[in-house]
Symmetry: C2
Subunit: 335 residues, 2 copies
DNA sequence: TTGAAAGCGCTACCAA
DNA sequence: TTGGTAGCGCTTTCAA
């Protein structure tokens, strides 16, 4: 194994000089810099992560806690994960993956053992049980999602309230007066996942303001779930002209069921989805949608974590504004 | 921070004794064991990962390289990842996530810096460019997938050749004599991903043996891709009675297109999928399928890695036998 | 601008 | 069955 001492010897300097060349924590003459870098390359030197962590009390590792649930959108989770890893690498950090079923215990473990410098937690619930541990952690924590009391924690998320509002506004602008929200699976509501409630609030408040009548239904992520919801919705006395779907998993089934029942999108009924753009365009009808910016959120989470590691405390809750993209599934009400 | 010295003092023993209690590497009297464990709990001691890695030359971390491609099935990747993490934890290891775009360089980096004790690589191609680096690594590597020359590497995968054979056999047993294979997207073939070719071989060899006529088409993961393929397939002079679909992403679109064109599954046409079971049952018709055992593969990969870390060299290529589950999408040919 | 050297917390060898 | 202690490779303070 090549050590810093080998490099130092080869470059004719002391180990500390090599260290400083690498860390940039003190000024080095250009000549020395070059000799050191040359030796590093020639010998193929890579600093030992353990030794570095031990001496500096920094592991250069971020822990990322991912949910294993299957009732939430897996591609979104994956996008988020890859964005996090990619962004972390730009800060010379690696990502350690924890699953949510390790619980608060797992969070404590990686921090207490100095395995990770900071923690990013996905799929945060409103009454998030891990919050107390996270807050006591003595290491930065960034949550994706907003718990009821975010005091002392950094949180990033899509502004789901604004997203709900924007969905209603878009349909109202097109003349829709009777719309439904097909929400996530009942399990998501029961769990108190924070985004579901926030979206709903924005949806209903704006509907009230704009004089739009609404119905809201949860929907299990299956064909049966979709059939059930549509049976209910399409049988109502006041005909619906718009559907907002906050449930990525049922987009495909919903569209085929609508087609099977002879409802044309968007002429008979407008469909507006909340989902990643690639999913929206992969449907039989390219869907108008509000983007779930998983990649941006991942990058932002890493950025916040790094900033906190640098000792910069900042605004705690950061919500990204929703972006609505009109495609082919929403249109004016046809009389 | 609580150190091993603190624990030793509290328990009235030496630091080395505490270390041995933890590692089990030498026998300890029951009384001492208990006092040490008690102190550990009382003080909330967690061994420092960096110090441990430095002293023992073992990080207790496994690196997992995941692809970021969107043309392969994301839920399968995710299943694999969570299985890997879960299994690794049972060996007291954590998982460091690398993305494939770090390339061979990234593999070298994590090993050279002693960040990881072993590496697991997903999405291996037949002419896998990372193989030389992997082989030279001086740390165990386990591949998911089988490169052309697996010499010196551990590989695990589904036995795709047998899977292809079993698909044909199932349909042949039901009386089908004209079947098509709808394969992965063209990009997968171009990349030379090893499983695609192996499946194809099993499919064709068995078809030849059983006197079954076959057509094979790649299919882009989109509605247009599905339409194109079906336009071709359904226009053929000899009517197809069976479809084997080795492309998870198009299952939903394929079924709705078939329905739209008035083909009933399985009476008009049998559909046999290669996909995870949860995906198979989530379709409008519960699909007969050959399972892709992502979770088992993940667990197995970890197991092989751990064994190699313990110095046990073993059979290099391990293929899991396919398991075909008959559901509602395949049936006898209707005359 | 550079060097010397004291630890960081743990493991594992050598002794007893 | 247990203790003492020399390092593991690096960072960072103190000194020059």
């Amino acid at each position: 194994m090549v050590t810093i001492a080998d490099v130092a010897r080869a470059a004719g300097v002391s180990p500390s000089t090599v260290s400083y060349v690498l860390s940039g924590k003190r000024s080095i003459s250009e000549a020395t810099r070059r000799r050191v870098h040359h030796s590093i390359r020639k010998l193929g030197y890579h600093p030992n992560a353990g030794a570095r962590a031990l001496a500096s009390n920094r592991s250069n590792v971020l822990a990322l806690v991912v949910p294993l649930r299957t009732d939430l959108n897996v591609p979104v989770v994956m996008q988020f994960v890859t964005a996090t890893v990619t962004e972390a690498r730009t800060y010379d950090h690696d990502v350690l993956l924890l699953t949510a079923d390790e619980g608060a215990e797992g969070l404590h473990r990686v921090v207490a053992s100095s395995l990770a410098d900071a923690i990013i937690v996905m799929d945060v619930e409103a009454a998030e049980p891990r919050v107390p541990v996270l807050r006591a952690l003595a290491r930065p924590a960034v949550l994706i999602g907003v718990p009821a009391d975010p005091q002392g924690l950094a949180c990033v998320d899509l502004d789901f309230t604004a997203a709900g509002a924007e969905c209603v506004a878009h349909l109202a602008d097109l003349g829709h007066r009777d719309i439904a929200l097909i929400g996530p699976s009942p399990a998501v509501y029961e769990r108190g996942t924070s985004y579901a409630g926030r979206f709903l609030r924005g949806f209903e408040e704006t509907a009230a303001q704009r004089g739009v009548d609404t119905v809201t239904l949860a929907c299990a992520p299956s064909y049966d779930g979709v059939r059930e919801v549509l049976d209910d919705l399409l049988a109502r006395p006041r005909a619906l002209t718009g559907l907002v779907v906050h449930n990525e998993a049922i987009l495909g089934p919903l569209l085929s069921e609508l087609a099977r029942r002879g409802r044309h999108v968007p002429d008979d009924i407008s469909v507006l989805a909340v989902c990643p753009p690639d999913l929206a365009v992969a449907q039989s009808v390219p869907l108008s949608s509000v983007d779930i910016p998983a990649a941006e959120l991942g990058g932002l989470a890493v950025e916040l974590a790094m900033r906190r590691l640098d000792g910069l405390a900042e605004p705690e809750v950061r919500l990204l504004p929703p972006r609505l993209k009109v495609r082919s599934s929403t249109g004016p009400v046809v009389a």
